[in-house]
C-alpha cells in the first residue's frame, strides 16, 4: 500500500503558491473542500486562477477567497449567488471565464484521462465558441474544447483511506471525481479517513492512484445554500 496520508491541511497544501491554477470540487456549497479553502485564506496566496463550477456565496466557499481578493481569474459555469463576485467582475477586478457546465466537467475529465481536447456541441453558435475551432460531425457543428491544466486539484470526499481511495456521498460527488488526477497534484479532504483495508474495494468511486495527498478535515460546516422543506 502506498500511503497518501498527510497530517493536516497545511501539509496537504504545501507548494501552493501565488499565481497558481487550482481546480476545486463542489456544486454550490455542496461537496466543497471547505477545510482547504479556509486554509488558503489563512496562507494568503494571491493571483489564483480557480476552476470550479461556482464561486461560493459571499461568506462561504470560494466567496471567502474573493473577499480577500486572492482570486485573479475564475473559471465557472454559474456564479449567480455571489454579490461580491458580481461586483468584482463588473468592475473588471476579476477576470471571469464562463463555461457550459458539461464542458467544464469534461475538460476536467479530459485532463484526468490524458485527452488533450474534445469536440462538444455545447456553446456552438454562441459567444462561448468564439475564437475556437469548430467542426461538423453528422451534420451538426461542434466546438473544440481543451483539457484544463491545473497545478492542484482540491477535492472533498465522504470517506477515504490511507491509500487515497475515495467514496463520495449523495450529490456532494459532483465535480470532485473528474478533478482527481486532473491537476499536477491532487489533494483530497475527507470527512472520515480510515486505515487501508477498511473500505470495500467494490465500493471505491475514485482509486487512490488519482490522489496524491489525503487528510481528514478538522471540521465540516456543510452549509446548506437553499434550505427547502415541505410540511408533514
Amino acid at each position: 500500500m502506498i500511503n497518501k496520508e498527510v497530517r493536516n491541511v497545511a501539509a496537504a497544501l504545501e507548494g501552493v503558491e501565488d499565481g497558481m491554477t487550482l481546480m476545486l470540487g463542489g456544486f454550490g456549497l455542496c461537496g466543497i473542500p471547505e477545510n482547504s479553502i479556509g486554509a488558503l485564506v489563512e496562507i494568503g496566496v494571491k493571483n489564483l486562477t480557480c476552476i470550479s463550477n461556482n464561486a461560493g456565496v459571499d461568506d462561504f466557499g470560494l466567496g471567502l477567497l474573493l473577499q480577500k481578493k486572492q482570486i485573479k481569474k475564475m473559471i465557472a459555469s454559474y456564479v449567480g449567488e455571489n454579490a461580491e463576485f458580481e461586483r468584482q467582475m463588473l468592475s473588471g477586478e476579476l477576470e471571469v471565464e464562463l463555461t457550459p457546465q458539461g464542458t467544464l466537467a469534461e475538460r476536467c475529465r479530459a485532463a484526468q484521462a490524458g485527452i488533450p481536447a474534445f469536440y462538444t456541441p455545447a456553446g456552438c453558435g454562441t459567444e462561448v465558441a468564439e475564437g475556437k475551432e469548430t467542426r461538423e460531425f453528422k451534420g451538426k457543428m461542434h466546438v473544440l474544447e481543451t483539457a484544463y491544466e491545473a497545478d492542484f486539484s482540491i477535492v472533498k470526499a465522504w470517506k477515504g483511506d490511507e491509500a487515497g481511495n475515495l467514496i463520495f456521498k449523495g450529490t456532494a460527488r459532483n465535480f470532485n471525481p473528474a478533478m482527481c488526477g486532473a491537476g499536477k497534484i491532487t489533494i483530497a479532504e475527507v470527512e472520515e479517513l480510515v486505515p487501508a483495508g477498511s473500505l470495500d474495494p467494490n465500493q471505491i468511486h475514485i482509486p487512490g492512484i488519482f490522489v496524491n495527498r489525503i487528510f481528514q478535515g478538522a471540521k465540516f460546516e456543510k452549509r446548506i445554500e437553499q434550505r427547502t422543506v415541505r410540511s408533514k
Partner: protein
C-alpha cells in the same frame, strides 16, 4: 385568464410520457414535478448528479449532501442513483434524457434561446443550459410571455447573447402553447379565457394561428 406559474407547469406535465427521463430547469420548470399524471413512471434528473429526484424533505430531514441544481435540499425516490458531473452530462450530451424543460429570457421565432446573460448587467452564467439545449432533441421552454416591463419575450430576433441555436421545439407561457415552425410561432393552444388579440399583442415575432387551435384543458 392568463395562467399562473404553477398552471403553466401543470400544462407542461401533460407532455410527460411513461418511461421518460426528464431534466427540469430552475424556476417554473421545477414545478412540473408536482403535476406528474397518475399511472406513468417518470424519473427526474438533476444535472448536479442525481437521477430519481424526489420531493423536498420534511423539516429536520434536510441533508447538506443532497441538493438539486437549484441548490435546494431534496430527497430521492426508490431506484434513484448518484453520479458525478461528467457522467451527468454524458446522459445529457449523449441524448439519454427524453425531455428537457427550461426557462428563457428570450425566444426568437427561429427557435434560438437566450437565458444566461444580460451584458453589463446580470452575470449569472449558463450553468448546464448550453449543454442541455445543444444536445436535447425534445426541449420545452416554460416562461412568462411578457417581461416585467410589459415587453414580449417571443421575438423576431434575440437581443441577448444566445444560449443555443435552433433548438426550441415548444413553448408554454401564461397565454398559450406554441410550436416553432419555419414560418414562426404556431399557436396551438390558448389559456382559458385569453383572446387571440391578447396573444397577438404579447407576441413580437411572427404568430401563426393553428387550424387546430384549441383551449388548454386541465382535467
Amino acid at each position: 385568464m392568463a395562467l399562473d406559474k404553477d398552471t403553466i407547469a401543470k400544462r407542461i406535465a401533460q407532455e410527460l410520457k411513461n418511461g421518460f427521463y426528464v431534466n427540469l430547469g430552475i424556476g417554473i420548470p421545477t414545478l412540473v414535478a408536482n403535476h406528474v399524471p397518475p399511472g406513468i413512471a417518470i424519473e427526474f434528473q438533476s444535472e448536479n448528479g442525481v437521477m430519481g429526484m424526489g420531493q423536498f424533505p420534511f423539516e429536520g430531514e434536510e441533508d447538506a449532501d443532497l441538493i438539486n441544481a437549484g441548490k435546494q435540499t431534496i430527497t430521492t425516490m426508490p431506484g434513484a442513483s448518484f453520479f458525478d458531473s461528467a457522467v451527468s452530462f454524458s446522459m445529457i450530451r449523449g441524448k439519454h434524457i427524453d425531455l428537457t424543460v427550461l426557462g428563457a429570457m428570450e425566444v426568437p421565432e427561429n427557435g434560438n434561446i437566450a437565458n444566461w446573460k444580460i451584458p453589463g448587467k446580470m452575470v449569472k452564467g449558463m450553468g448546464g443550459a448550453m449543454d442541455l439545449v445543444a444536445s436535447a432533441e425534445n426541449i420545452i421552454v416554460a416562461m412568462m410571455q411578457v417581461n416585467k416591463r410589459g415587453e414580449s419575450k417571443l421575438l423576431k430576433r434575440c437581443s441577448l447573447p444566445l444560449t443555443g441555436i435552433k433548438c426550441v421545439k415548444k413553448i408554454v407561457t401564461e397565454l398559450g402553447v406554441y410550436e416553432i415552425i419555419p414560418e414562426g410561432f404556431l399557436l396551438v393552444e390558448y389559456a382559458p379565457g385569453v383572446s387571440i388579440k391578447t396573444i397577438k399583442n404579447a407576441t413580437e415575432g411572427t404568430l401563426i394561428v393553428s387550424d387546430n387551435l384549441k383551449e388548454m384543458s386541465f382535467s
